[in-house]
């Protein structure tokens, strides 16, 4: 485990900047801190990012860093906030003037491409949104497990649809499997009632894909 918990701000809250930089000088310094953090996350991941290293690379003392960010998570969160604000605006723009099915099709398709491109291009986004501190080896084993499970599903699909492209079936199975896990995670975090609806909706969508109509 490299990981850990922030001691300062206990278990739930994400503290906002401890003090807003009001002078020009400090605003520039905070900017440098965020840039340093971003670079370090891109290089090593947020978990391996050390507060001391952030300060050093920003040319700032550790104390200054903590003057503006109450804890490590706040630094990461500040970066996350930027990207979400950005992407939120982008989504709103893409969907704003959709008026018919064809428009939705085009807008959604474009949106997915943009998002995917963002994920591919921005290590910081990947790191932050892909389970902030999840450790790499465990995630690879998660993937291996998913693949193994999807394989079982693939076998069934191949039996039922022998004429279909096997590679496409494998992709479908893996996707459906992963979506199922994502749905359950979501279902857990939204609570029982809404969660049940989500799982039901997933089941419907997955089945439509699996057995057609």
């Amino acid at each position: 485990m490299e990981g850990s918990t922030v001691a300062g701000s206990q278990d739930g809250q994400i503290a906002s900047p401890r003090r807003a930089p009001s002078q020009q000088r400090s605003r520039e310094r905070v900017e440098r801190m965020l840039a340093a953090a971003s670079a370090l996350i891109a290089e090593q991941g947020s978990d391996a990012m050390r507060m001391g290293e952030v300060a050093e690379r920003a040319g700032v003392s550790i104390g200054s860093l903590y003057q503006f960010f109450p804890d490590k998570r706040a630094v990461i969160w500040a970066l996350a906030e930027r990207y979400t604000a950005e992407s939120q605006a982008c989504i709103a723009a893409a969907l704003a003037e959709v008026n018919d099915a064809e428009g939705l099709r085009r807008a959604f398709s474009e949106l997915v491409d943009i998002y995917y491109g963002l994920f591919l291009a921005e290590p910081v986004i990947r790191d932050i949104w892909s389970g902030t501190q999840a450790d790499k080896a465990l995630r690879e084993l998660e993937l291996a497990d998913s693949r193994a499970n999807a394989e079982l599903l693939t076998a069934v699909l191949k039996r039922l649809r022998p004429t279909a492209d096997p590679a496409a079936l494998e992709t479908t199975a893996l996707l459906i499997w992963q979506m199922g896990e994502a749905t359950m995670r979501l279902a857990i975090s939204v609570g029982r009632k809404e969660g049940d609806d989500l799982v039901a909706a997933y089941k419907r969508m997955a089945l439509r894909e699996l057995v057609g109509e």
Copy 2:
């Protein structure tokens, strides 16, 4: 951060038990260690789980704990392995004798229910598979962000399908959004080529749901 770095097992590998317990006595002790770890994860999450506490609760010294587990991750992984083995068997059983579309429908539906039940009932599974160490506050903000984005999609859907049940549209939008993020995470970790296929498949599935056919 309370945390720190595991000195022993560097960055990628998950080490296997440092030494297999060969005597009856130690086998029982290892069992107690895992039980203690499981309980602590259920109570506080794997990130907050302290190795010292695991040892204490198992009635064992910290040294004994490290005799059988090379690091903290190995303890968590040992628990994860149990559950995956279990669920793997369950999946195989459910899918083994599927021979037609109706059979697949029934088996898959049952499978989802079982899995969902497992997620609901087992805090340890939730913790381990839902991004081992992801911090709670950040994940709540992730959810808030997802909701905000899904909201934009919901608005469009309501415009296009004014007769549909609004609540169902909201569920659909949130689900599609979350699935998209899951797909992209998956796409990243499987590499560019297969990833592109996955994103394409997601796009197709989502669009079928969004604009019908």
